[in-house]
């Protein structure tokens, strides 16, 4: 058990009553890991889940695999994706696999229908089944295969925590977060590979450094710049149509680079300020996540009013009943506290 009391973050209202409450934690830090703003305990430990993917792309670039196989910026963005399984995403996964000379069945992420509803319907209408390429993590897995092919490592057990590619990713994630690899808690993701548990403050620090890698070793700094440039220029490949991550980067024109993780996690980088932010909805609810991220971003003054307006549907979603009538709202209910 961690802290016994956590802070309210989001209210779900119905008529005159707050029907449900989502609590959570936020840490905003600089590149040194100093906490600038917080909600609740900034040292709350949780899994970064897919919010670690931008960090996991670093060793793929640093290994030389990206250059050797000539991966383009769309493909680099997709290495960090929780993509929607739209045609462009699937084509790009196939392109990566072709370039590295890997067969589709080398991917070991379990198949699931595309997150994008239209893409899923298309498969269903044709009586088809989703493949491993449709798994939202197939870009990350392609990166793991690229790393392994390039360095001559067998890929049969590439998902095992002992495999060199997982060790390389753990090393990079830990290093960016200012932790020893042994200080990172390991679990297993929905896609089968290790996930990385750490204090939120450390995840925020990793994102601060990702966006402003000035003090890092040259090779690492260059890799950070390639990842952030790819994601900023091709946010569609990080998520997909109408997805929050994509829209946040598009609307902010790359001033904010953010990534969703399952179970209510979000991490974002603000390169101009050298800040990172990490957020966890305590109960894991995705419905609370985007309103909370936008509220935090708004309180920090990171988006203009007109930019926030473009993201309004994510910020205060309406609850509607089966007949389509509005019956309630999902509303932010917290104030970030400055620290220091």
């Amino acid at each position: 058990m961690q802290l016994n009391c956590s802070e309210p973050m989001i209210h779900v209202s119905r008529g005159p009553l707050t029907e449900s409450v989502h609590r959570g934690f936020i840490a905003v830090t600089d590149t040194e890991g100093n906490v600038l703003y917080q909600l609740g305990d900034p040292d709350y430990i949780t899994f970064a889940r897919s919010a670690a993917k931008l960090l996991q792309a670093l060793p793929v670039i640093e290994s030389g695999a990206v250059d050797r196989y000539g991966l383009n910026e769309r493909e680099i963005s997709l290495l960090s994706a929780s993509h929607s399984g739209e045609a462009e995403h699937v084509d790009t996964v196939h392109s990566i696999l072709r370039k590295i000379g890997a067969a589709e069945d080398e991917l070991q992420c379990g198949p699931h229908f595309p997150l994008n509803r239209d893409a899923a319907s298309l498969i269903r209408e044709r009586g088809g089944k989703p493949g491993r390429v449709h798994n939202n993590c197939s870009g990350k897995h392609s990166g793991m295969l690229a790393w392994s092919h390039h360095l001559g490592e067998a890929t049969e057990h590439y998902m095992s925590p002992d495999h060199p590619v997982q060790q390389a990713m753990l090393g990079a994630v830990a290093d960016m977060a200012g932790l020893a690899p042994s200080g990172v808690v390991l679990g297993t993701d929905g896609c089968g590979v290790p996930v990385f548990g750490m204090p939120l403050r450390r995840l925020a620090q990793a994102y601060a450094r990702l966006g402003r890698p000035d003090g890092l070793p040259d090779e690492r700094a260059a890799a950070c710049r390639r990842v952030t440039a790819a994601v900023a220029r091709h946010p569609f490949y990080l998520a997909g149509t109408d997805r929050f991550d994509t829209r946040l980067i598009e609307v902010s024109q790359g001033r904010i680079l953010g990534k969703f993780g399952a179970e209510g996690v979000f991490a974002l980088s603000v390169p101009d300020r050298g800040w990172g932010l990490a957020l966890k909805v305590e109960d894991g609810a995705e419905r609370a996540l985007y309103p909370a991220v936008l509220e935090a971003v708004s309180q920090l003054g990171l988006l203009t009013a007109s930019e926030l307006a473009q993201l309004a549907a994510f910020r205060r979603p309406e609850l509607r009943n089966w007949a389509g009538t509005q019956v309630g709202y999902i509303t932010p209910a917290f104030r970030l506290e400055p620290r220091g």
Copy 2:
């Protein structure tokens, strides 16, 4: 804002870490509303949502509509249902509508695909669309139509809080809960009709009295006995195949009569003891609901070990990844406190 600190109720683990925490509130009372056991604040106010449906069936019986139209016990059970839209449920809704002389389009609940996956697939495979009868609340709405037809009230606006049937239901719910109608907070349900907000302790009291109506006026006591008998004998009509509410009543052989409500609510009656229990998952997550109810029921000694074993899949569900490997658990993490 209510209490600023709530109690952990359910842990969602992944590997060595508690990844997400669901907090919540439980009140166990006798028929007088005395709190016997609690988790957190027993006066926490929330909407009963569909957990009020057994109470809402009372005025339908008391009006004389059930006798006049000759509704059988399956149909009475369905009046209180959040049913799965299986063939038997839909047929029974049609049967009620036929008996009362109502057309299907008098139902004003919005259509949605059946909660039962097979029933939903069947409609999709035939290229069909779900109707209002498939709405999980169509039994309750049929009861509202039965009441209105019997008493000669127009049904055009039967969902309005001002309509006599809604006033009758508010009156019955408030009375069972030991509240004045003005003490009940009103909101709008997913199906369009009013929902009833009250302290958990009051919802528990209403369920205690429902199961042991000895001190109530004769007509009300008789209606309580007809509702509980119908639900105990025909729990399938309260929910459906593999649904928790149905299985809890089946496995306990009617010693526990429980009803789910949206946004993480559950209410149950233990007639033998004259107890009621009301539970709210603070964040509304259904995944936390059944493990929490079963843990409470287990701590109260209301089910035998062999009965609990039959419900094990609801009590500590496994989390699996897309490849089917177990990666975590949903586990109860609370202790009910005796009071008094």
